[in-house]
Symmetry: C2
Subunit: 132 residues, 2 copies
Amino acid sequence: MTETPYTIRQMCEEFEVTARALRFYEAKELLFPERQGTKRLYSKRDRARLKLILRGKRFGFSLEEIRQLLDLYTMGDQGATQLTMTRTLALKHLDEMKSQRDELNQAIAELEQEIEWGTKKLERLGERETAA
Amino acid sequence: MTETPYTIRQMCEEFEVTARALRFYEAKELLFPERQGTKRLYSKRDRARLKLILRGKRFGFSLEEIRQLLDLYTMGDQGATQLTMTRTLALKHLDEMKSQRDELNQAIAELEQEIEWGTKKLERLGERETAA
DNA sequence: CGTCAGATTTACGTTAACGTCATCTTTGGT
DNA sequence: ACCAAAGATGACGTTAACGTAAATCTGACG
């Protein structure tokens, strides 16, 4: 078993996306499944890429941004110039993600505060009701 | 100085958004500036809400989701039922944000790996060039 | 060989979140 | 009183990321 190509249906089920989305990602050059006749066959590499695509989306990156990031994980044997550019781009994204994480942590802390506040208020209301 | 209302322009500059966006948020009931005649006046409370709106956007929440979250920060003197619902919703969002953070941390770690890999490759290329 | 489910291609539709005019009003300043 | 700038109100346009429908194709099976 050297490889294990997936059909489009299997991909859909495994990643919970529609066939339309997969074809769309292909049209946008984020995926390059091979063809067996006219049908698409998704390799392990395609599956890895799709995973990254979906994760990128969850972080609010656009498909175009994701496409650029994907090239990073495909860094084969490019020239030093290309590699440097890719790395620079990646560092930029890394920075974004880090500030995003910091802000997210702050937001989480604040939201927890608010919830605690609401919880205590509910407790007081409960006491009143119990006392009556 | 009990209050310090902002004009729409001041809001735009302070938060780097367009007037169109502010009116749009108002149409979607995320902001409720008062009116002095026909003109909008944004209170401190509006500014706080806008800050949360923009932050929510950065985390990929839709305006509708943000609207619901905003009500959390407006928990005044509602009934216990309403308050419980709001709190439940908030806990759900909190969970989402926490998993998002965890996934983000993992993505950051992986991206750092890749970058390090690229960096080392560049170093090797540099050595070769130097040796030539 | 017929057909019937599953794929593909093509093309138009949809939603969110504004952008971009065009066209009034309002208003502070001279 | 008058003018230009700022603000308001429609109304239509735009982009991203698919959804949906229609027509065609293709391959395994009885």
